[in-house]
Symmetry: C2
């Protein structure tokens, strides 16, 4: 995660936030952000804590669309997440900054810290695009096997090793790959039987490569 205020001194940051008319909110564990706070037309920056964007579909099924950790951004109007069917829950006590869109997109501001801030945001959005591209590359694979292998490859490149560590549970992996967990479990068994991979808890060894 990239700090949106990196390369900005603490004093400049305070000054900048004043200029942008930013406001800071605290949320207790297990509270909904949207029920108490208007975040439309604002950019939200997570300063600390842990939140989740949760989508409820017409059946009432809830899906975790995204995990928000420190320095995560979200914004309805800037569309870092999607619809109106979403809610945001603080899963841990969290502190977030709200900045109005119009304050951000204000070319008349000329301070170096503002320019640096915009460049930081540009770097972050660029990184998010990379992550989305990666996921799309995986999701467009047609079989469960190919989704898994594509995911393993991405992780191996990222972790620069043919031994990779899952950053989350197998249940979450199935969610990420948008496949049935039990079907995934079955396919992983096949990959193990064919000696293509070895699995020990969340440690996965790739025997090709």
């Amino acid at each position: 995660m990239i700090d949106p205020f990196k390369k900005i001194t603490e004093n400049d940051k305070i000054e900048l936030l004043k200029t942008l008319e930013a406001s800071i909110y605290d949320f207790d564990k297990n509270t909904s952000i949207l029920s108490t706070t208007k975040i439309n037309d604002s950019l939200c920056i997570v300063l600390e804590g842990y939140l989740q964007i949760i989508k409820t579909d017409y059946n009432g099924n809830k899906t975790i669309v995204e995990d928000l950790l420190q320095y995560s951004l979200f914004s309805p109007s800037l569309s870092f997440f999607n619809d109106d069917e979403c809610d945001i829950m603080a899963k841990e006590p969290s502190k977030i900054i709200l900045i109005d869109d119009h304050a951000i997109f204000n070319p008349s501001l000329t301070s170096p810290s503002y320019t640096q801030f915009i460049l930081n945001l540009l770097e972050i959005t660029t990184l998010i695009i990379k992550q989305r591209n990666t996921r799309i590359n995986i999701l467009t694979q047609k079989s469960i096997r190919n989704k898994l292998l594509e995911y393993f490859n991405q992780m191996a490149n990222q972790q620069r090793s043919r031994i990779i560590y899952l950053p989350f549970s197998f249940t979450d992996l199935a969610d990420y790959l948008a496949i049935d967990r039990s079907a995934m479990s079955r396919e992983i068994k096949h990959l193990k039987e064919e000696k293509i991979i070895d699995v020990k808890a969340r440690k996965i060894m790739l025997n090709y490569r």
Copy 2:
């Protein structure tokens, strides 16, 4: 598509491009960009023409990863597209601008046109994230039927009508949804039989909503 130079006068634009040490290239139809031009560590902006990012997998299968129209951006380092397995082909005579990353991420620049330019880039990257989110929302649907319906809904929201027009062929739609074309065709037939939709060439009427 958003013009990366919007709200910048022609004179300021020329001045800005000089400051950023931008270079302009022309490509003939059916030529490969990467074979003649080093684009690593640069941002590429399509000024005019039509190009495609083409991925060749280990089987030799070629996939069109992305179409690049006027004002499209692409960049290996900034990761608007993915891997090294990609090539970029001009499908029509095309003109592109290359700007070195370091020139863009230069907080010491203070001219209003530079600030406007990076704000424009930020707006574009934000829009790209929105598009990627939309596609991911569709790709994470488990059945062909749900992928189609999710896609139709997105289009209906976008076109603000329950009558939507496909922006491309059904063959391309199957690619976009990452499903088999014949299986998609079968499912569309079912949707028609169940009177959920009507289809006339690329015009689709949604009978719910």
